[in-house]
Subunit: 451 residues, 2 copies
């Protein structure tokens, strides 16, 4: 619960200030790995290292998994390798594969050494797929049964499995059903097993309409399918439809959250998992890049204004009003941009409705253009007592609002075609267009009509 979390953060802060060892230990013992990770991220570099010292070994690996890479690496550097190895033994194959690039070689090799042949093979399998693919998400510890056995036998098998492994895989909501060649036949939900006569066979209760993935399906598509079909878990099969892994909903939730974060942060030119308390030089450097890109576009707009210096010298009111034109274009455009970018992500946009969308947005832009043209025209006239200026201002407003919505509609698909993420670059490209068009339209109209 967040309320509890807020309370936790404050207590931790106090304990850190007083560096009260016992309090810190007590506070962390009943806290989940994800919460500790969120806690770590709210602390300064110095406090992070202090707190890390008190994180129970069994949780450390899980916490590292939840953290963003920079912080993870810095903490790994401050952790005893033996402890690290011990704590890592608790994490799943797919999770280990996600962070192993951050782990010391010695630790990795120690882990791999400890694996039996089968686990090592599975580990290599997961490692071999990108993190943002079904193969990268899948857990390779799968519980599968044969179709011809009875539910009673299935239960017996599960009992033995639990005794052997000590525990069953996390989030076990169903058993995979395979034939003797490990080819996926279907899935039987545990609720089916416990609510049917135990004498009937797995085949009679398994569902054969299974949503399955291949290792190279994108994590985005996997998440979409989980949402569309309300899945708790889904099998991953190879090209011969042999069962190789299982994706669970908790991994999918992380994908959904990461995509959402990425969208919000990339709009501001931040990396997808920014750190509030990253070293100042590092943060400054990352943000400087985005500021630099923006500076270029801003100077492009400035250059356009420069073309009309003489006009501005004659009518200073132009300098006063021109930012209004540009900013309205930017706002109108970003509304459309946001809408279309989302539509693209959901694959809702194709050539056919794109044409309709452009028409639709054009009408909206034109309507709002005329509305606000009237408003600003009157304001400008009242302000500067120049009806020509008012008309030019209004005309420029219509032009920039229409340009804004059209740019907002067309830029995202174009960027996507060029292989650039619209959520990342869309905003900059859009404001460049609206600024340049806005300033040019207003100033050139003024030069032509008033002067």
């Amino acid at each position: 619960m967040t309320i509890k979390f807020q309370h936790l953060i404050n207590s931790i802060d106090i304990a850190l200030d007083e560096n009260d060892e016992q309090a810190l230990q007590k506070l962390l013992v009943n806290t989940s790995a994800a919460e500790i990770a969120r806690l770590m991220e709210s602390l300064t570099q110095k406090d992070r290292l202090t707190l890390w010292h008190y994180v129970p070994t069994r949780l450390r690996a899980k916490v590292l998994l939840e953290l963003h890479q920079d912080l993870r690496r810095s903490l790994i550097a401050h952790t005893d390798e033996a402890e690290l190895t011990a704590s890592l033994s608790a994490v799943q194959m797919d999770e280990l594969a996600d962070i192993d690039s951050d782990l010391p070689i010695t630790v990795i090799s120690a882990m791999v050494q400890a694996m039996d042949a089968q686990r090592r093979e599975r580990y290599d399998l997961v490692k071999h797929y990108p993190d943002d693919s079904a193969g990268g998400l899948m857990d390779v510890d799968i519980t599968a049964v044969r179709a011809d056995v009875s539910l009673k036998a299935a239960l017996r098998y599960m009992r033995r499995l639990r005794q052997r492994e000590g525990a069953l895989p996390d989030h076990l909501d169903s058993l995979m059903v395979v034939d003797r060649n490990n080819v996926l036949l279907g899935v039987v939900p545990l609720s089916q097993i416990i609510s049917n006569d135990l004498s009937i066979s797995v085949r009679d209760v398994m569902s054969t309409e299974v949503t399955s993935f291949t290792p190279l399906n994108s994590a985005h598509n996997v998440a979409q399918a989980f949402k569309d079909k309300d899945l708790l878990s889904a099998p991953v099969v190879d090209d011969q439809h042999k069962l190789i892994g299982r994706i669970t909903v908790d991994d999918v939730i992380d994908v959904i959250q990461d995509e959402a974060d990425k969208e919000v942060f990339s709009r501001a030119g931040l990396n997808s998992h920014p750190d509030m308390f990253a070293p100042i030089l590092k943060s400054s450097g990352r943000r400087a890049i985005w500021l630099g890109i923006n500076l270029m576009t801003a100077f492009l707009a400035a250059w356009v204004i420069g073309l009309f210096e003489t006009s501005i010298e004659k009518i200073v009111a132009l300098a006063v009003l021109m930012p209004v034109v540009a900013s309205m274009g930017g706002v109108a455009g970003s509304q459309t941009l946001t809408l279309v970018t989302r539509g693209l992500a959901l694959n809702q946009i194709n050539n056919k409705n794109m044409a309709k969308l452009i028409g639709h947005e054009f009408s909206i832009g034109a309507l709002n253009g005329m509305l606000w043209a009237a408003v600003v025209g009157i304001i400008a006239f009242q302000w500067f007592g120049d009806w020509q200026l008012g008309m030019v201002f209004g005309a420029a407003m219509i032009i920039v609002l229409v340009t804004g919505v059209l740019a907002g509609t067309t830029i995202p698909p174009l960027l996507k075609k060029m292989g650039i993420d619209p959520a990342l670059a869309g905003g900059v490209v859009l404001t460049t267009v609206t600024d340049v068009v806005g300033f040019f339209a207003f100033l050139s109209l003024a030069t032509l009509i008033i002067l």
Copy 2:
């Protein structure tokens, strides 16, 4: 799978153009409600009504649940009430409660009539809580067992339940354990039932460390807890710790997705579930409000510029460069704003680290300020051959970048304290500040130093 979905959209488009009834029916029969909803949203108003005609009755209610309100209402208006009632009988209590405000009174009353006393009571219970609360999310068809029964007895109970109800509740991953007064004692995962000796009692395998919610816990906090603890389902209890409902992960995924959408869309002043093909007047109206708000802030900036008309008349270069200052401040600020807004949503920010955060951001702003001050100063000097102008430009850049990061750090918590959603209003307030400060700093410095 999204690839399939892209294909589906195109086939539907073709079928709609040729209005090929058979094709439409065939295409929809194996499509999930969520996919049909996404499909509907990608169509124009006219096509939506045509397609709706072919959506199987059994799916209609589920599709309505997935759609945004405007579209839902318009489709309900075009649906035969008897059909609607029939299809609604398939949805869960909590889902029904979510959309009943959009349904015709006659349909609602027909549904309520059909409920037995117990279900009606449960329905009133869910209706009584807001949609974005644990009470609004919970499903009230709960399967609970007593602690003292054996696993074998639990299985028998489940069998009878399934025979009576026809099916078990969706996403049944565990059974709630209650005492004779329906007070929650614990939860027993189905995986425990199927992997233990059936002769032992539920008490021996149930876990008593259960994350439970009260009906008025916010959906946001529920989602956070599901993420932190990797839950598949969780009980909802009243103030006497009596079991009243159950929240499943599929509902939580919707909450996470909705929050993400809301964040992205509200930054652009769109409602949290905008419609690409909403009626033009409606869309225009909604967007006009945001444009109007922005216009006021833009005129505020314009007014500031107006204070320096005489300076601009003398040095037109000021008019050329001033938008650069403002835009850089806006970008630097929005980076910090995004970071802090997220930190607030995750409850990572309290008074203690706020102070540190301000210091941290100040250093970043100052560093980038000095960097870009040097760059733009040189550019301005090269461009206009006026070293004083270059220095003023650089100084203004430092001021506006520092102002930007400080505003970005302090605005979100202030808005939150005022009960305003930082994700909605933060951007506008920030750019107002950075524009005003940017223009004022640059123009006033120029007036003082150069003139």
